[in-house]
Symmetry: C2
Subunit: 340 residues, 2 copies
């Protein structure tokens, strides 16, 4: 017998098929303790596991969660994905990781697939759709999920009414900017993520706020955009050095950008933190092993992914009750120095 089915378990336990189903799926239909024990023993003896396809077909949900991200090979999303997959695994279920590659059309297509696969929950990790297209295209998808009973959780503000798990990105941008200001810096540049990514814009907004509050915003803030990669950070700083090289500090939208910034500064003969202080947001696992150990604001990426799965698995209501803001914490290392 290569596949053991619920029928085999029922036969072995000497009960009917529905009774087995009630035990293993934690149904509300009552089952006596003695019967339950018999079933559980049979399950253990046969090493039975319910067939996901059959379950999905009848109950209209498969025990699968899906994570939508821009790029799985970016450790930033990798950490989130790790939190998602490992937590899903703890629940005994599997997870899809969907890569949009920053292409909004892919995200729409993924939603079609996820619908087709009857996944239980969807985690919107930032597929790359801009706010506007989200509101048009995605909202109908989300509406469909909601009507159908699928659980949708966002890891980034989507401008849509739904459960979310995230950090306060504006506060994060403010925090790292304030830190440089406290250290005596006034000429502070900001290398942001893409202009169509909500998270990036919020962090940038925090920088603007902090600079303004300290009277440092004279309408000539040094801001460059990148694609959240090493390369992007490198190129942004190169460009910045061409036109306005007078900064003493750089705030980076995330750790990847900071790594590229290091490289660009080194090429120009500038040292960190000797000539320029660098700070960023993320605290990826390797931040302390960077060329100069990176001072950065820790974002609990793993925990974000993990919590999102818990929301999907734990809550059986349709109410939007999970709005969780995770705390961040500044990790002071060696990439920032006091000015003068």
């Amino acid at each position: 017998m290569i596949r053991v089915s619920i029928e085999d378990v029922a036969a072995k336990a000497g009960v009917s098929v529905p009774t087995v189903s009630r035990v293993i799926s934690h149904s509300s239909h009552p089952v006596s303790d003695t019967t339950r024990q018999k079933v559980l023993q049979a399950v253990a003896a046969l090493d039975y596991r319910p067939d996901i396809s059959a379950q999905g077909l009848r109950s209209s949900f498969t025990n699968i969660v899906a994570l939508i991200t821009r790029d799985i090979s970016d450790p930033y999303f990798g950490e989130i994905a790790r939190g998602v997959t490992e937590t899903a695994n703890k629940y005994g279920i599997l997870s899809f990781v969907c890569n949009t590659g920053r292409n909004p059309e892919n995200e729409i297509e993924y939603h079609e697939l996820l619908w087709q696969y009857r996944v239980k929950g969807i985690i919107l990790g930032g597929g790359g759709l801009t706010l506007d297209s989200y509101k048009k295209e995605l909202s109908s998808q989300v509406e469909r999920y909601r009507k159908n009973g699928n659980k949708v959780v966002a890891l980034a503000p989507q401008g849509l009414d739904m459960d979310y798990v995230m950090i306060d990105n504006r506060a994060a941008g403010e925090c790292i900017t304030n830190y440089l200001i406290q250290k005596g810096h006034e000429k502070i540049a900001y290398i942001s993520g893409p202009q169509n990514v909500y998270t990036a814009l919020e962090r940038l907004e925090g920088y603007r706020l902090a600079m303004g509050r300290h009277g440092l915003d004279n309408g000539d803030l040094m801001i460059a955009y990148s694609d959240n990669s090493w390369k992007g950070g490198y190129e942004a700083v190169k460009a910045l050095l061409e036109c306005s090289p007078e900064f003493t500090g750089i705030c980076c939208g995330n750790d990847n950008i900071a790594m590229g910034v290091f490289r660009a500064l080194k090429e120009h003969g500038l040292t960190v933190p000797g000539n320029v202080s660098v700070i960023s947001i993320g605290d990826l696992p390797n931040a302390s092993y960077a060329d100069t150990p990176l001072t950065t604001l820790r974002v609990p990426l793993y925990e974000l992914g993990s919590k999102a799965v818990e929301i999907i698995m734990g809550s059986d209501t349709n109410k939007y009750n999970a709005n969780i803001i995770f705390r961040t914490a500044l990790r002071e290392r060696d990439s920032v120095s006091r000015l003068k």
Copy 2:
């Protein structure tokens, strides 16, 4: 009508349900061209997509491929995962990414889950099982897959008889070592990946071979093991510098190790490539933006993952016909200098 089923399509096309099934699942049962067109039009008109659960239940395979890796947040595996997910997506199917976190027990548990989910194909990307435990535990799993008709492809030599897609790791280790030797280095250390990872050992073997062939192996080769991470590379070099600091070149098992090596050397006041030359295997996307642009042997990670999916999707035979060795290519950048 929230979900459109095959019955709706059949009704719209004016044919029977099995006929629709034959068209969409490319059955060998003949269907006339006119009928086929009618069906395809109805499918398009209703935006119909077959239900994966129903398909899986009846046909005993779900259109899902699974990738087993050690750590998805490591860009090395991230690149492979990207190749897998994007290629799967091209085929209109989804993929599971399974993270063992270097814990062999997890890999066994994953195989149970994958069996339960009736996945079509499994890609063994190196879950962290040592060769011995593989031969004992995994071989029975693989045997079960094979009997059942699932397709299994390995990305690393597993010591088992199965399809594989990989690079010649021994040649890779040899290649980078030879390169340093050609550049005049003789005191060359090697920082390897873990001792229970087949790939790592093969690369190390290549180093030993190259050193021996050039009469550089006097039984005192400087070898340290790490866990393939920045941190691991950092700590391995720190340890090496304590006992035998006389090397002028370091070969690294992969790019992550090299990044940690950079950091450790810098802490000791050693420059790259001024005091020490560093070379590695991998060529991750950020290798050219490292502190010193990294000379490294390119491994086509994305292509490895991509090809594995193509094997799963393309071949319907049970024969082990796909044994593909991908080519590598040395990327000369700035981390190696000629000695004297």
